[in-house]
Structure formats: structure tokens, C-alpha cells
């Protein structure tokens, strides 16, 4: 299989613009709520990118976990900690420094990725979900188990942190 089609590329770029726009808005807006909604839009756009990259499973998981989970969690946190809900956030602080560092880091990463020699293109398996499942429970079992352990640990940690102290 060759490089994917041009239309797909166009769609990819279109989603990319949505994603970058959402991300930018999320970072610069002075309303925390809008920031989170923009994050949701950004994440959905990224899910679209995943779909275009033939990672259907990843796309759905992105919606499931990120949009349905993390964004909701952030909204909860926002609403439970009343600060920032009704009041605008502080203005962007030290924009010059942030921009300079962000620019150099992004440019460095981009340059590094573009100049790296990459191996030849392989074949996409017929049933990608099947292959992913086999990888998860086969060659990559270790990462699968590990993420399970990390999830358990973080669940317990979050519970311990949030629970009210007993008197």
C-alpha cells in the first residue's frame, strides 16, 4: 500500500487545523470553562485524525476516555472548586518567555522528526482491531498489564487524596 490518498491528506490537514485551533483557544482563553470545551473539541478532532490514520479503535477509545472521561472529570473539578468558574482566569503570564521556549522546543522536535531517517513502509493488516488485540495480549502484554497496575494505583491515590479527613 502506498501513501494514503490526497483526499485523506486534505481531511487530515483539515482536522489538524481544527485540532490546533482548539488547542490554541484552550490555552489562551481566559474562561476556564471554554478552555475545557475547546479541549474537548481538540480531542474530538484528534480522534478524527486517529480514524484517518486507520486507528479506529484508538479513535473510539480517544472519545471514550478523553472526551467522555477526562473532560468530564475536568468539568467536575472546575465546578467543585468554585474558583475560576465565574471569574476569568489571570491573563497570560510571561508570554514572551513561554512563546520563546515553546517555539524552540516545537521547532527542535519538528526538525528532529523531519530529519530522522525512517524505515520502509509496511502493509496494513486486514483486520486492524484483531491485530491490535493480539498485540495487546501477546507481544505487548507487558505494557497492557503495566497500564492496568498504573490505573489501579492512580485510582487508589486519587481516592486517598480527595477523601475528607476523618475527625
Amino acid at each position: 500500500m502506498s501513501e494514503p490518498q490526497n483526499v485523506e491528506q486534505l481531511l487530515f490537514i483539515a482536522f489538524g487545523i481544527v485540532a490546533a485551533g482548539g488547542a490554541l483557544y484552550a490555552v489562551v482563553t481566559r474562561s476556564l470553562l471554554r478552555s475545557i470545551i475547546a479541549l474537548g473539541a481538540f480531542l474530538t478532532a484528534v480522534a478524527g485524525e486517529f480514524y484517518l490514520l486507520a486507528a479506529d479503535f484508538l479513535a473510539v477509545v480517544q472519545i471514550f476516555v478523553y472526551v467522555g472521561g477526562i473532560v468530564v472529570l475536568m468539568l467536575f473539578a472546575l465546578m467543585l472548586s468554585a474558583s475560576g468558574v465565574r471569574h476569568p482566569l489571570a491573563a497570560i503570564d510571561r508570554p514572551a518567555l513561554g512563546a520563546a521556549l515553546a517555539y524552540s522546543l516545537g521547532a527542535g522536535v519538528l526538525w528532529g522528526s523531519l530529519t530522522t531517517e525512517l524505515p520502509a513502509v509496511g502493509e496494513l493488516p486486514a483486520d486492524a482491531v484483531d491485530a491490535l488485540g493480539r498485540a495487546l495480549l501477546g507481544s505487548q502484554l507487558w505494557s497492557f498489564e503495566l497500564i492496568g497496575v498504573i490505573l489501579l494505583a492512580s485510582v487508589i491515590t486519587a481516592l486517598v487524596i480527595v477523601r475528607k479527613e476523618r475527625r
Binding site: V27, L89, I92, L97, L101, A102, L105, L132
Partner: protein, 100 residues
């Protein structure tokens, strides 16, 4: 496609860094960090699709990344709530008891 994916990822990453460096609110920081995570995950998915489609390693790691992002959000937001209870604010600048 490679160029597009890599560019998108770098741009998103830079945006995330910018947010982390310039925002004061703890939840904003988490938002920015999630953007950075996603930039990395896009790279994983893209390289998995474009250079090693049959091995699925990239996708597996993207899943791991999403899982870690979920953990991070859970623990991070729990901390935000704890900090809010303690300091009455979610601004990270208000938490500076460790000043040297």
C-alpha cells in the same frame, strides 16, 4: 502525510508547552499537559500507521499513553481539589510554601 502528522504534532506540542508555561490555574496546566500528551500520541499513531502498520506497537503505546493520561487527570484533579480545600484557590502560584 508524514510531514503533516509531524508538523501537527510539533505545533500541538508547542502549544501545550506554551500553556504550561503561561497559565497559572492548575486545571489549565492539566489542559495544557493533555494537549502535549495528545501531540505525542498523534505521533505514535501516525508512525504506527505509516511505517510499521503490521506490528501495532505504535497503537499499543498510544493506548498506554491514553491510559496514563487518564491516570494523570485523575490524580491531578484530585490534587487540584485537595489544594483547593487547603488554599481556597486553584492557582499554582498560591502554593508556594516551599519557597527556599
Amino acid at each position: 502525510m508524514t510531514t503533516a502528522a509531524v508538523t501537527l504534532s510539533s505545533v500541538l506540542f508547542a502549544i501545550g508547552v506554551f500553556g504550561v508555561l503561561t497559565r497559572r490555574n492548575a486545571i489549565s496546566l492539566l489542559v495544557s499537559v493533555e494537549i502535549m500528551m495528545n501531540a505525542a500520541i498523534i505521533n505514535l499513531a501516525a508512525f504506527s500507521r505509516l511505517y510499521e502498520p503490521e506490528a501495532m506497537t505504535g497503537q499499543v503505546f498510544a493506548l498506554v499513553g491514553i491510559g496514563i493520561a487518564a491516570c494523570e487527570a485523575a490524580v491531578g484533579l484530585a490534587l487540584v481539589l485537595a489544594v483547593y480545600r487547603r488554599f481556597g484557590s486553584t492557582d499554582v502560584d498560591s502554593i508556594d510554601l516551599l519557597k527556599g
